[in-house]
Each structure stands twice: as structure tokens, then as C-alpha cells.
């Protein structure tokens, strides 16, 4: 995004105190409830979590579906972001709004919309059912579809925004060197927006991992095939709050490990910069 991004060592200007103060408030605001949650968890029961198969099954399903959903969002979302950012498509404001709406829709309603389209009596679900015998609801693919539906906009918007701020002259240079549009995209543009893609993927994955409403509405809740960890957590809240808290913390720990292990990579800070 930079014609000549310099990487000089530099004197960092001191961050003004009000900024630091507000940032500290923000961190406390996030950390305190999480801490309170962790404190409330009955850690003595933590052994049950791993002996019981249900949470493990749900966790595995969650990880599997959220990763696949993220991959699908990448495959569909990148091209969409590209078209929105780089073409002069007349209706692109409308298209962009349509593709952002699922973020706003209450997830349960998003699930209803999916049923209306892909359910047994749905707009095209009926044909899928009648002609090919394909029934999406109550299957693991339905979980993935629900996650993609609500989570993909995060990728699209993040990447589109980054695509707008890339330096087009660098792409021009690549073109005059004989690079086909494909090569330019693959070797120049996408690497330039890599941080945005990574952070879009993290947002998407996080949203998919935490997805509950659309999943439960469109895919239902069957252990092993559609009961993801958030669904299991929700149910546990009905009967066994302690187990619910334990499962939430499990989800938190998994995400935490993933996020911390990515270090600065997904935000665009260059690897080992001091």
C-alpha cells in the first residue's frame, strides 16, 4: 500500500498521556469481565470436561467447522472484495450493503433466512430436495453455511478497505513488466493486503467460532454433527451453569492460544521489528 514504505529505525514520538489513559481503560474494560468469568469457573470440575466426551466432541466440531467456514469465506470473500474495490460496477453500493446485512441481522433471523432459502420448503432448497435429494438443514455443511453467512462480511469489508489503499502505481509497474492480471493479483496486490487478509480471517474465524443463533436455527442441534461448542454452552447454561462456564473458558483458551501465537502477524506489524 506504499510506494516506498520505509522501515527506518526512528524515534517514536511519545504517546500522549490521554491516549494511554483511555487505552488502559479499554484494556481493563475487556479484561475485568473475562477475569470475573474465569474466577467464577469451578476449576475443581475441570477434569470432568476432559473425561466427558460431549464437550470434546463439540469443541472438535467447532474447530473443524469454523476453519472450513473461514476457508470458504476466503475463497468467496476475496473475489467479492476485489470486485467491490476494483471494478466500477454500477450497483456496487447496493451489493456491498447486501453483503453486510447479515452482520446486522440478529443471528436467529439469519438462520430463518437460510431456512427460507435452503430449507426443505425453501426457495431453492425445495428443488435441491426434490431433484437431487439434498437436504442441507441438520447436517454439518449447514453449520458451515450458517457460519459463512454471518462471518464472511468481516473478511470482505476488511479486505476491500485495504484494497482501496494499496498503491496502484506498483501494480502498474508489474503490468508493464509483462505480468498478467492474475500474476499482478497473486504476486503484487494480495501480498500487499496480506495483513488485512489475515486480520479479516481472524475476525471471520472468531465470529464463526462463536456463532450460535444462525447455527441452531438453520442446522439444528445434534450431537456430533451440528452441536458446536457455543450451542453446547448455551444448553449447558439451562441445566448446569458450571459446565457452561467451563466450556466457555475452554473456548476462550483455545482462541487465546491461537491469537497469541499469531503474535503481530495478523495485524500487519512486520515480524521482528523492534
Amino acid at each position: 500500500m506504499t510506494s516506498q514504505r520505509t522501515r527506518r529505525r526512528r524515534t517514536a514520538p511519545r504517546t500522549p498521556v490521554p491516549i494511554v489513559a483511555l487505552a488502559v481503560i479499554a484494556v481493563v474494560f475487556f479484561a475485568l469481565p473475562l477475569l470475573a468469568l474465569v474466577l467464577r469457573v469451578p476449576w475443581s470440575d475441570v477434569g470432568d470436561l476432559f473425561t466427558a466426551s460431549a464437550p470434546r466432541e463439540a469443541l472438535l466440531l467447532s474447530l473443524l467447522t469454523s476453519v472450513i467456514a473461514t476457508a470458504c469465506a476466503l475463497v468467496l470473500g476475496l473475489p467479492l472484495a476485489w470486485v467491490l474495490a476494483r471494478t466500477q460496477l454500477p450497483g456496487r453500493h447496493v451489493i456491498r450493503a447486501v453483503c453486510t446485512l447479515t452482520m446486522v441481522l440478529p443471528p436467529v433471523v439469519a438462520g430463518v433466512a437460510l431456512l427460507a432459502a435452503l430449507g426443505r420448503r425453501g426457495l431453492i432448497g425445495a428443488s435441491l430436495n426434490d431433484w437431487f435429494g439434498i437436504r442441507l438443514p441438520f447436517t454439518t455443511p449447514a453449520v458451515i453455511i450458517a457460519q459463512v453467512f454471518v462471518a464472511m462480511p468481516f473478511l470482505v469489508l476488511t479486505v476491500e478497505s485495504a484494497l482501496h489503499s494499496t498503491d496502484r502505481t506498483v501494480e502498474d509497474a508489474a503490468r508493464t513488466l509483462g505480468a498478467s492480471p492474475w500474476t499482478v493479483i497473486r504476486r503484487v496486490t494480495l501480498p500487499a493486503v496480506r495483513p488485512a487478509i489475515l486480520s479479516g480471517l481472524v475476525l471471520t474465524w472468531a465470529r464463526a467460532l462463536g456463532e450460535f443463533g444462525a447455527t441452531v436455527t438453520f442446522a439444528g442441534n445434534f450431537p456430533g454433527t451440528t452441536r458446536t461448542l457455543p450451542v453446547a454452552t448455551y444448553l449447558a447454561l439451562e441445566s448446569d451453569v458450571d459446565q457452561a462456564l467451563l466450556m466457555s473458558v475452554l473456548l476462550m483458551v483455545v482462541s487465546f492460544v491461537v491469537l497469541v501465537s499469531m503474535r503481530d502477524r495478523w495485524t500487519g506489524a512486520i515480524g521482528g521489528r523492534r
Binding site: T2, S3, Q4, R5, T6, R7, D167, T169, V170, D172, A173, A174, R175, T176, L177, G178, A179, S180, P181, T183, R187, V188, P191, A192, R194
Partner: protein, 348 residues
């Protein structure tokens, strides 16, 4: 590859209309003031900016013809452009930037890397090969940008100020490189008249989007067709009114030699070398002699330029020895003389 046609294009408020006539294998220098449209012309040639009107035809067929709806995209023109701001790919290192062209044209990685190493050595940047391009100094980046364009092995090289950021010691070698026989057709934008005069077969002078003059360096020096061309080439242009062999410049009369210009508003050009300076009024053949003041003395390594004040704001070049003999300084009074035959006039 030869390229012919006419570029007509608008950028912002600036309309560019330049005929193009580039013979295969030649070097064309594009000179002109800032904002004249030089970069824009290169972009049109490269296919980065579509013509609004006019037509561009390469040796391999029509490149751009808005009338006929023909447009060949950059990657199919076999041109390579070097950008004024370098436009290096910041996430690739130096080698990968330079190897980008060959690899885009299907050359294998090893061969492309080899080519990158060779070309980098040619531009004196072999030691930079493993560096991140974001860590380069201005001149280093320029060498890499030049190497990248060369490595692409194009049939037309478009170079936007290839030497601007290079140090003085590196320039002669780089000039020789740009003049090398094994390079293809070249279009070079430059602000250095010396580069234009020494490197180019043809010079195109562009001003305000229009072609002011095109010709060989000799032609331009001998018969600059406008004051602007004369000035840009380092000559002294003066505007005045001509009547027969009498030229009136800001009220001051000069005698000019044989010429074919009609009476009226004209521009006269005097070469810095043609003016002589004297402590006292000189006797002898020069028909134009006047007294004036030294406004400034500018020294370069081995020449001195003396800027004269009213009535004729001329720059005069003398030797160090000559200056020492004259023993003058800024503000001193001197006599200047120029022979009538040394003043060239053109219609304004």
C-alpha cells in the same frame, strides 16, 4: 520496435496532444518543464493510460485506437517502464523485484534469478541483491528500479528520469549503460540537457502538453525553434523586436548577422561562450559592445558562469584563468561584447 501515432489525452486540467514517431532501435529523449506531460506520455505508451483520442501503432500492430475500440493491455506490449518514484514492490526483496519481469514472462526461477543478478551487477547494485527494498536509499532504489526495467527484456524501454537520484560519480557509467548497443528502443525522460544531447538520437521537447520541437541533438542545438528550447539547452534566449539587422531588446539595440526571419517579434539566442568580457571598452570587430554589472558568479569544477545585469540579462561562460585576468567580482562593472554573427534569431 518502432512506435508511431499521436497521443491525445486529458489529465486533470492538462490536455496532452503529442505526435509520436519512434524509430526502431533508437533512443528518444523526452524533455520539458515540470508538469509538461512527459510521464503521462510514457504511461500512454506503456498502456497504463488509455488514449482519449489519437492512435498508437507499434511495429506489431495497433496498440491503442479509441476510435476503433482497440486497446492492447500493458502486458502484451513488451514495454518495460521505470517509474519516477521507482514503484518497487515493497514485499519482495531486491532480487525478486528484478526477477519479476522475467518470471512474469515465463522464465524459470533459476534463470530469472540469474538474470536479476546479472542486471543488478550492470547497474552497480550487485551488493543489494538480498536487501529489502524498503531499506534502500534513494539512489539505491533507483538503480534497482532501472535494473528491474532492464531485466524484463522489453522491446521498448520507458525510463522516467533514470539518473535523477544517482550520485555524480555513478552517472557516467550509467549513461554509458543507457547508450549500450544491446538495449532495445528507448524513451528516456530527463531533466538533464546533457543526457538528452549525449544519449538520444531524437529529442522531443514537450511543453504544456504539446510537442515544441523534435529532432536530433545537433538540430536542436543549431536551430532551437523556440526560446524555450534554447533555454532548456542552456543557451541565452532574449525576446525583442527585429527590424532588418537591428534587434531591439527591452529598448537596447543589437546588430544581428544574416538571417531569414521576418521583421517583428523575435527571440534571439546567444551562447554563453560567444560573449566576451572586458575591463575597459574593447576595440575591434564585435559590433555589439555594452557596459553592464556582474550580478553573480557561479563556479563549477572547471568553468565559471558570470551572470550579467541590465540591459541584457545574459549568462557568460569564461575560464578560471580568464576570470582571474579580468579580476572582477560581483557588483563590478564590466564591458561585454558579442559578434553580430553569434546572435541567432527566430520568430516568436
Amino acid at each position: 520496435m518502432s512506435v508511431h501515432g499521436r497521443i491525445i489525452v486529458r489529465v486533470g486540467d492538462c490536455r496532452i496532444d503529442v505526435p509520436i514517431d519512434i524509430a526502431s532501435g533508437t533512443t528518444v529523449a523526452l524533455i520539458g518543464p515540470n508538469g509538461a506531460g512527459k510521464t503521462t506520455v510514457l504511461r500512454c505508451l506503456a498502456g497504463l493510460q488509455p488514449l482519449d483520442d489519437g492512435r498508437l501503432v507499434g511495429a506489431d500492430g495497433v496498440w491503442d485506437d479509441p476510435g476503433a475500440g482497440v486497446f492492447v493491455p500493458p502486458q502484451h506490449r513488451r514495454v518495460a517502464m521505470m517509474f519516477q518514484q521507482h514503484a518497487l514492490i515493497s514485499h519482495l526483496n531486491v532480487r525478486d523485484n528484478v526477477a519479476f519481469g522475467p518470471r512474469s514472462r515465463g522464465v524459470g526461477t533459476t534463470a530469472a534469478n540469474q538474470r536479476a543478478a546479472d542486471v543488478l551487477a550492470r547497474v552497480g547494485a550487485a551488493h543489494l541483491i538480498a536487501r529489502r527494498v524498503t531499506d534502500l536509499s534513494g539512489g539505491e532504489a533507483q538503480r534497482v528500479a532501472l535494473a528491474r526495467a532492464l531485466a524484463a527484456d522489453p522491446e521498448v524501454l520507458l525510463l522516467d528520469e533514470p539518473l535523477a537520484a544517482l550520485d555524480a560519480a555513478a552517472r557516467p557509467a550509467m549513461r554509458r549503460l543507457l547508450a549500450a548497443d544491446d538495449l532495445p528502443t528507448r524513451v528516456i525522460v530527463t531533466h538533464d540537457p546533457i543526457d538528452a544531447l549525449t544519449l538520444a538520437d531524437q529529442i522531443m521537447v514537450i511543453d504544456d502538453g504539446a510537442l515544441v520541437q523534435a529532432g536530433s541533438p545537433r538540430e536542436l542545438v543549431d536551430t532551437p525553434r523556440s526560446a524555450y528550447v534554447a533555454e532548456i539547452l542552456g543557451l541565452n534566449p532574449l525576446s525583442g523586436v527585429l527590424t532588418g539587422d537591428q534587434l531591439l531588446i527591452g529598448g537596447y539595440p543589437l546588430t544581428v548577422g544574416a538571417h531569414t526571419v521576418a521583421d517583428g517579434d523575435v527571440v534571439a539566442v546567444v551562447r554563453p561562450r560567444s560573449v566576451s568580457l572586458h575591463r575597459s571598452r574593447p576595440e575591434g570587430s564585435p559590433r555589439n559592445v555594452w557596459s553592464t554589472r556582474v550580478e553573480a558568479i557561479e563556479r563549477s569544477a572547471d568553468r565559471v558562469r558570470v551572470r550579467l545585469g541590465a540591459p541584457l540579462p545574459l549568462v557568460v561562460e569564461v575560464t578560471e584563468g580568464g576570470l582571474a585576468a579580468l579580476d572582477i567580482g560581483t557588483g563590478d562593472e564590466v564591458w561585454a561584447s558579442v559578434k553580430a554573427s553569434e546572435i541567432a534569431v527566430f520568430p516568436n
